[in-house]
């Protein structure tokens, strides 16, 4: 009896080994710090590419390398500091509305290898960065959805010419009060036609008839989904504006959003930009400085006006209740400087509907005053002693400037009155769109670059030391067979890295721990097989019968043992938190690849060495 290798098995092993090595190879070269310059909606133009490149060259960085990749330019830097400085330089030099400059890590492997495979994606704990878990304030979202009905109801009542009513959002429901019960019944029919999403209730007392309504369950669910999706879209836009590449923005559960920003080192700014709801509003000015002063000192505000304060000095001003244009109608915005005064300015581009309205209003009001209101809503969360959430709503509504309308305005115009930094942030927020409901941070993890580098170094060291120790031990204990097991083990690590690179899975520090643990456990399959072979030899089997029986009898045991470990890994994965998932992934992949290398792979090598040997002794 002999143990020969069929040709297909040898070819399969060779194929897997070669592709494994090629796929894993980019990880040896590592990554370079890069700034990726690309067009936002259209491919990068040559002019903009030139602008960006000369901005980088003006920084005098050492060892800069440019890669022209058709639609984008990648600039590679020697270190992270240079990368950050260059990103700022480029952002200042180009028009941010059209060109983005994102900090990035790019593969440092040679060009031919880059075409075939990419290195593993490194988690935040290894490359540094920020992880936010946001909770969307759904109560607020439902409330504002119901408030939209309040204005609908008012409009319908007015259209029907009914007098004596009161409609408001009160106590978590929409409530309407009518002096005449017949009016109430007529309106109820109309409201039912308009609002299929509402559950209606009616009641009456001696004086009035009431309708109260709430969003029904299906509508609440739909609204929550919509708000979550819109907030995710807005967050994605804002993250892109921040110049982060390869960010993660994902839904988690029904009310939460995960945002991961690799490479970002300034959590304060990231928090401010992601969570802010700043926007602009354009309104006509009402009355004159005398009526403004009178209104602010208790003289009463006219019914069609609202009292505001000027950002500059806090002095009062009255604005019309009607809004000309809101921030939602702003299609595009960029920051720059006023040509005459050099004051920081935001250049605003309106959408079709907004432009039409702006044109109509300014046409009628040439010579009158128009004001720009800067609105910022922030919800700060704190916790009281019982551990309950307390919301501190911080609302600012300030008039940043007002001026005489000299010309008819339409699509594009500028607004001044903010500081340089404020103008830049506002332009960014206007471009990215507004959040549909406030979001609160419920979890934040920031890893600095120095810790990330330490984690990689220590993780790599422990993996290498562990691997070497086990390979040496196996070679000492099982001699030739042990060396084969060692080869299978090294192959296993290569395959884990290859599969991770292929799937573009994220490697985390616990993920590295998973690889290390797999190294120790993967030899178990070979230990089981070798102990079986020894037993067979002791009971007097021939060399070939012992090898064959050893592999066959050990198989079910190995499979059973590995399946139960896989069960634990799957449960671990379902636990769901980023870093732990990394551990579960590498552990699972390691178990599967070890079945291949430790059983299939080692068998082929053993057969090749001992397949034709006769007698009763083996180097095991």
């Amino acid at each position: 009896m002999t143990n020969a290798n069929p040709l297909w098995k040898i070819l399969l092993l060779a194929l897997v080994v070669v592709s494994g090595i090629v796929l894993a190879l980019p990880n040896i070269f590592g990554s370079d710090y890069a700034v990726q310059i690309s067009g936002r909606s259209a491919p990068l133009t040559e002019d903009n590419a030139f602008l960006a490149k000369s901005a980088i060259n003006s920084g005098g960085f050492e060892g800069v390398e440019f890669r022209d990749e058709g639609e984008q330019v990648i600039a590679i830097f020697a270190n992270q500091d240079d990368q950050q400085k260059a990103q700022e330089l480029v952002t200042r030099a180009v028009e941010p509305a059209f060109t983005s400059a994102a900090m990035n890590l790019v593969s440092a492997s040679p060009a031919w290898l880059r075409k075939i495979s990419d290195p593993m994606y490194l988690g935040l704990d290894l490359r540094g960065g920020i992880h936010f878990l946001y909770e969307v304030d759904m109560d607020e979202a439902i409330k504002s959805a119901e408030e939209r009905y309040v204005s609908d109801w008012r409009r319908i009542v007015r259209e029907e010419g009914i007098k004596g009513f009161k409609i408001q959002h009160k106590g978590g429901e929409i409530s309407a009060r009518f002096n005449v019960e017949a009016d109430r019944d007529r309106m109820l029919d109309l409201y039912r036609q308009e609002g299929r999403d509402l559950d209606f209730k009616t009641s009456e007392d001696d004086k009035y008839g009431y309708i109260t309504a709430n969003l029904n369950e299906a509508a609440v669910t739909a609204e929550k989904t919509l708000v979550l999706e819109q907030n995710i879209a807005t967050l994605r836009n804002r993250v892109n504006e921040l110049g982060v590449s390869e960010p993660v923005i994902q839904q988690q559960g029904l009310e939460r959003i995960v945002v991961q920003l690799p490479g970002i080192q300034d959590p304060t700014r990231a928090r401010a930009i992601l969570g802010a709801t700043a926007t602009l509003e354009y309104r006509l000015v009402h009355g004159s400085p005398t009526t403004w002063a009178a209104a602010s000192s208790g003289g009463g505000v006219p019914a069609d006006a609202r009292l505001y304060k000027l950002k500059e000095d806090g002095s009062p001003i009255l604005l019309s209740r009607d809004i000309i244009v809101t921030g939602d109608q702003i299609k595009d915005a960029s920051a720059g400087f006023d040509q005459q005064t050099s004051a920081p300015a935001v250049f605003v581009n309106l959408d079709g509907a907004g432009a039409k309205r702006m044109q109509a209003v300014t046409q009628e009001n040439v010579g009158n005053l128009m004001a720009v209101v800067y609105k910022e809503n922030r919800v700060d969360v704190a916790y009281n002693e019982a551990g309950e959430k307390v919301y501190n709503e911080v609302k600012t509504e300030q008039v940043i400037n007002y001026a005489t309308i000299n010309d008819v305005l339409s699509h594009r115009f500028q607004t001044t009155g903010l500081g340089g930094g404020e103008a830049a942030d506002l332009a960014l927020l206007l471009r990215a769109g507004s959040l549909k409901a406030p979001i609160n941070i419920v979890e934040e993890r920031t890893v600095g670059p120095s810790l990330g580098a330490d984690n990689i170094r220590q993780g790599f060291l422990s993996a290498v030391v562990g691997l070497i120790v086990v390979v040496l031990f196996m070679a000492w204990y099982y001699r030739v067979f042990g060396m084969v097991a060692g080869a299978a083990l090294i192959m296993n690590v290569v395959l884990i890295v290859a599969v991770l690179s292929l799937l573009q899975a994220t490697l985390t520090l616990p993920g590295i721990a998973g690889i290390v643990l797999t190294t120790g456990m993967a030899v178990d399959a070979n230990v089981l097989i070798f102990e079986r072979i020894r037993e067979e030899l002791r009971s007097g089997s021939s060399v070939q019968a012992a090898i064959s029986a050893g592999y066959d009898k050990a198989f079910t045991t190995i499979a059973d043992a590995n399946i139960t470990t896989l069960i634990a890994a799957v449960v671990l994965f379902s636990l769901g938190t980023g870093a732990i998932k990394g551990f579960a992934i590498t552990l699972s992949i390691g178990i599967l690849t070890s079945m291949f290398t430790a059983i299939f792979g080692s068998r082929i090598i053993i057969n090749a060495i001992y397949g034709g040997k006769r007698g009763k002794a083996l180097a095991i």
Partner: protein, 313 residues
């Protein structure tokens, strides 16, 4: 042929009473430690702040405490982390009007002006109390789910008595490992939970290898009482059990020594778990199966069921 164990013939089953006392004692101590001392839950589970800062020179812990106290930051615990230049600052979830995660800015803002050398922010972790509570729940649930899924699998592949034996061994391992963390008040965070689940996987691995041999021997050995068959099975797999535990412990030691401070607890939990798991698959799992009165007849229906599965090469 090198042999650390050789062809052994130890009387494991005969020594099951002292082993049972030892296990019972260890589990009792562990449970008492968990109940009385409680677990030193990390920020993952309690909610709160952890901020790690790196100084260029040896950090003055006392000074940092004073600065933070002066800045009216809520009872911060300050300690060295791994080296004399690294400092870990931990705080309970903020009360009153202290704003969410912006607290890290306050800490750095307070420390930076008082230090001559540069301070590097190495890591900030903020976990809201409700997120922590959820993680505690899902974490406990995950351990139970893993145990349940494994009971079902073993029941299906082996037999009810094996299933009971393996789970008893797993519960034994989990309780003792968690007990060590309670006894020495080592911080219990999310990575430790991951390690506990990996311990469940590993310990089971060991147990199944022994069970597999017990099943095989019940079918092939013509003579012998169940106790003798079990003893033979454990002895036959002993060499493998020891070698595999040894290689696993070798890599875990490498992880413990070189893997850095963050992964330390994780490696420690696995080291304890692997040692206890190896012991339990010999003394707890098998003796439970024997105690439940396993007999050759029990293996008959399983033999039929498992027949086609065993045919896979």
């Amino acid at each position: 042929m090198r042999n650390l164990i050789g062809e052994s013939n130890y009387d494991f089953i005969g020594h099951r009473r002292p082993a049972m006392f030892l296990s019972a004692a260890l589990v009792t101590i562990a449970l008492l430690a968990i109940l009385i001392r409680g677990l030193n839950f990390g920020v993952d589970f309690t909610g709160g702040f952890t901020i790690e800062v790196g100084y260029e020179e040896t950090a003055n812990i006392e000074h940092i405490r004073e600065v933070l106290a002066a800045a009216e930051l809520p009872d911060a615990s300050v300690q060295n982390f791994g080296s004399t230049t690294d400092v870990l600052i931990r705080m309970a979830p903020p009360e009153g009007d202290v704003t969410g995660s912006a607290l890290s800015d306050d800490v750095l803002g307070a420390l930076k002006p008082t230090s001559e050398s540069e301070i590097k922010m190495r890591r900030v972790e903020f976990v809201g109390p409700q997120v922590g509570e959820e993680l505690r729940e899902t974490g406990g649930l995950a351990v139970l789910m893993a145990l349940f899924a494994i009971v079902v699998y073993i029941w299906f592949r082996f037999e009810k008595k094996f299933s009971v034996g393996s789970v008893l061994a797993l519960v034994h391992d989990v309780i003792i490992t968690v007990g060590v963390f309670a006894l020495f008040q080592i911080e219990f965070d999310l990575t430790i939970l991951a390690a506990i689940l990996a311990v469940i996987g590993y310990s089971l691995n060991d147990t199944i290898v022994v069970f597999d041999r017990i099943r095989e021997n019940f079918r092939t050995m013509r003579r012998g009482t169940p106790a003798e068959i079990m003893n033979a099975s454990i002895n036959q797999t002993l060499s493998r059990t020891v070698i595999t535990s040894l290689t696993t412990l070798l890599v875990l030691l490498s992880l413990f020594i070189f893997g850095g401070k963050i992964i330390n607890g994780f490696a420690l939990a696995l080291i304890i778990g692997v040692i206890i798991g190896t012991y339990s698959s010999i003394f707890v799992a098998s003796t439970t199966v024997l105690g439940l009165g396993i007999s050759k007849e029990d293996m008959m229906p399983v033999e039929k069921e498992g027949a086609d599965l065993d045919d896979i090469p």
